[in-house]
Amino acid sequence: MLKINNLHASVEDKAILKGINLDVKPGEVHAIMGPNGSGKSTLASVVAGKEEYEVEEGEILLDGENIDELGPEERAHKGVFLSFQYPVEIPGVTVTNFMKTAINETRKAKGLEDMPANEMLKMIREKSEMLEIDRKFLSRSLNEGFSGGEKKRNEIFQMAMLEPKLAILDETDSGLDIDALRIVANGVNKLKSKDNAVIVITHYQRLLDYIVPDYVHVLYNGRIVKSGTKELAHELEAKGYDWIKEEVGA
């Protein structure tokens, strides 16, 4: 589904990604771990198409199509979803209105009519129940005055509504207490199917107890330096990142 070949990317002439290779197949969950500043969030942004990042080399293929020239909204229309580490506030725009716009814009891009209001309401009800979201929450301005946990839950709610092919969760666990973490993880697990894929970017192994990855990759200094199964995450949890750094340095 997602194939990244020898990806080099920079921001303001500073090289951040230095040759990433990654192959994510439908139905798989991949975890990307690594110390601060290793390029995890950059990788997420580059795949989503953030314009400040310059792709210097390599390619990103989605279902075999090079998406390098596509704008972020076009990638979204093709089913790429990014759960933001720091979701932005949009005052005066309710969660419901935002979702309605997002869904209908995506449908429009596919040549479909707007989703009928009753269908939209039904979907909102189902998805908010699944994520244990209070309906009142949906009439609030997007992320304005939300707690850290609310913001993250809202990201997963949006993911549920948009039903993406490829979801990238950027540090979705940060700022969550254990109950919120469980709810969010359950939500992600319910959304998983044999046709979609999830990339979980995280610092800690904690989230991976709930969202169990098929593969774990360690990103360090702009490269994937080690890949393995979920046991690798446990090893990292126990031993930290220093041994990896040494291995790479050696």
């Binding site: 198409g49 979204a76 979803f81 990014l82 932005v88 005066g92 997002a102 814009e105 948009l162």
Partner: protein, 482 residues
């Protein structure tokens, strides 16, 4: 060549008078350029006005001659040459075009986006109508319903003929002739405008809108509006049109006076979309408007405005809260793009006891434009327990525009409670990217953010107007982020 003096002008005018013979019998539909007493008389005569009205205009003209154009506003423009303007041309005289094919396609595209019917498009663009339009009969039915309630709604010229006692009693009572330079000018030369009277205890059963929108197009540059809500009555009045007006008149100096008698309520909503000039800042309308309302006991006046047009805007819809317990409200969205300049806000003059005012102003600046809020909250010594809440928010797009806030507060009574909040924010690339990532393109994202920002004011507009206004905001900001 020696300097062209006023004497020369007078001389020239005299010859012209003779040439066209307009002093006694005016054939021409457009007066020669320039302004003097004779022109003022001629306007009044052309409209068959009674003597008192002519005198009133002349008085205004005398005052105007002694005044100078104000310079305190935060706007810069080349001052109009008041002797180079023609002060009368018959409204709606001849169609400008024979068919829609001749109309600027860009203008038509905008009509399309606003969802304006074909017939109305023709009317607005000044196209000759070959079919009898629905609107005519709509307007007639409308008038009938209103008449049954005793509501008077007609052009001010008609009102001067048919209800001179009402016009004479109220005109100039809220905005006196000498109020300011443009108000004085308007008082001397106003071409036409609207008049509305709601009798005691009557709630006007409809928004005075459709009718107005159709009749609005083509009215002159010096409009005069007078709305009187008698005791215990209510009216919601909609002015302007979301459709772009490609008016050739450079200068617009309108006056609007509202009078809300005891326990009456007037809701006055405006959408202003005059030609803002091109992207290089050439052309566009100078919009210098004086709007003010007077509230008697327990009365309420709400001004709601969406200002997206004009090259230069100078406008402060105000409330004089004379009666005890009266309420004044001002809700405004002002959008400036490219080289537009707006200096707009309100004055809330608290005279009565327990008077209350609310000001919510949303300024949106893009391109190289300058957008200023200027507001005065004045509490007089006898206004016990007066309260005001003001909120001024500015939204900036890009790095070349400006937002300015000039709040003036004069509290002369210790019991006054005044609150002022102000914020400035910028549409961030992060917000845009977030929207993009959810499948919303940049243009739509800006519209969404701007509508969210303006929501508190949009909510104050009558429903059908609000939808149009929302679309208008989107169109006004098109291409503002590259």
């Amino acid at each position: 060549m020696s300097k062209y003096t006023e004497d020369d002008l007078r001389e020239e005018l005299k010859t012209k008078e003779y040439e066209y013979g307009f002093y006694t019998d005016i054939e021409s539909e457009t007066f020669p350029n320039g302004l003097n007493e004779d022109i003022v008389r001629a306007i009044s005569k052309k409209k068959d006005e009674p003597e008192w009205m002519t005198e009133w205009r002349l008085q205004a003209f005398k005052v105007w001659k002694e005044m100078t154009e104000p310079e305190w506003a935060n706007v810069h423009y080349e001052k109009p040459d008041f002797q180079a303007i023609s002060y009368y041309s018959a409204p709606n005289s001849k169609p400008k075009y024979d068919s829609l094919d001749e109309v600027d396609p860009e203008l038509l595209a905008t009509f399309e986006k606003l969802g304006i019917s074909l017939d109305e498009q023709k009317k607005l663009a000044g196209v000759a109508m070959d079919v009898v339009v629905d609107s005519v009969s709509v307007a007639t039915t409308f008038k009938k319903t209103l008449a049954e309630k005793g509501i008077i709604f007609m052009s001010i010229s008609e009102a001067i003929q048919e209800h001179p006692e009402l016009v004479k009693k109220y005109i100039g009572t809220v905005v006196p002739q000498k109020d300011n330079f443009y108000a004085a000018l308007n008082s001397a030369v106003f071409s036409d405008g609207s008049f509305c009277y709601i009798p005691k205890g009557v709630k006007c059963p409809m928004e005075l809108s459709t009718y107005f929108r159709i009749n609005q197009a083509g009215t002159g540059q010096f409009e005069r509006t007078l709305v009187i809500a008698d005791e215990g009555s209510y009216v919601s009045y909609l002015e302007g049109c979301t459709a772009p007006s490609r008016d050739e008149n450079q200068l617009h100096a309108a006056v609007v006076e509202l009078i809300a008698l005891d326990n009456a309520e007037i809701k006055y909503s405006t959408v202003q979309n005059w030609y803002p000039g091109n992207a290089e800042g050439q052309g566009g309308v100078y919009n210098f408007v004086t709007k003010r309302g007077l509230c008697e006991k327990n009365a309420k006046i709400s001004w709601t405005q969406v200002e997206t047009g004009s090259a230069v805007t100078w406008k402060y819809p105000s409330c004089v809260l004379k009666g005890d317990n009266s309420v004044g409200e001002f809700y405004s969205i002002a959008v400036t793009n490219n080289f537009q300049q707006a200096d707009t806000g309100t004055k809330m003059i608290h005279l009565g006891k327990n008077t209350k005012s609310t000001i919510i102003s949303k300024g949106i600046s893009a391109g190289k434009s300058q957008n200023s809020y200027r507001g005065l909250v004045q509490i007089s010594p006898r206004a016990e327990n007066a309260r005001n809440f003001s909120q001024c928010d500015s939204l900036l797009m890009g790095n070349e525009c400006g937002a300015h806030t000039f709040p003036y507060i004069e509290a002369n009574n210790k019991s006054a409670q005044i609150e002022h909040e102000a914020t400035t924010s910028k549409i961030g690339e992060d917000q845009i990217f977030y929207c993009n990532q959810r499948g919303i393109d940049t243009e739509k994202a800006i519209a969404l953010i701007v509508n969210g920002f303006s929501k508190e004011v949009l909510n104050k507009l009558p429903m059908e107007f609000a939808v149009e206004a929302q679309k208008l905001l989107e169109i006004s900001l098109e291409g503002s982020v590259g």
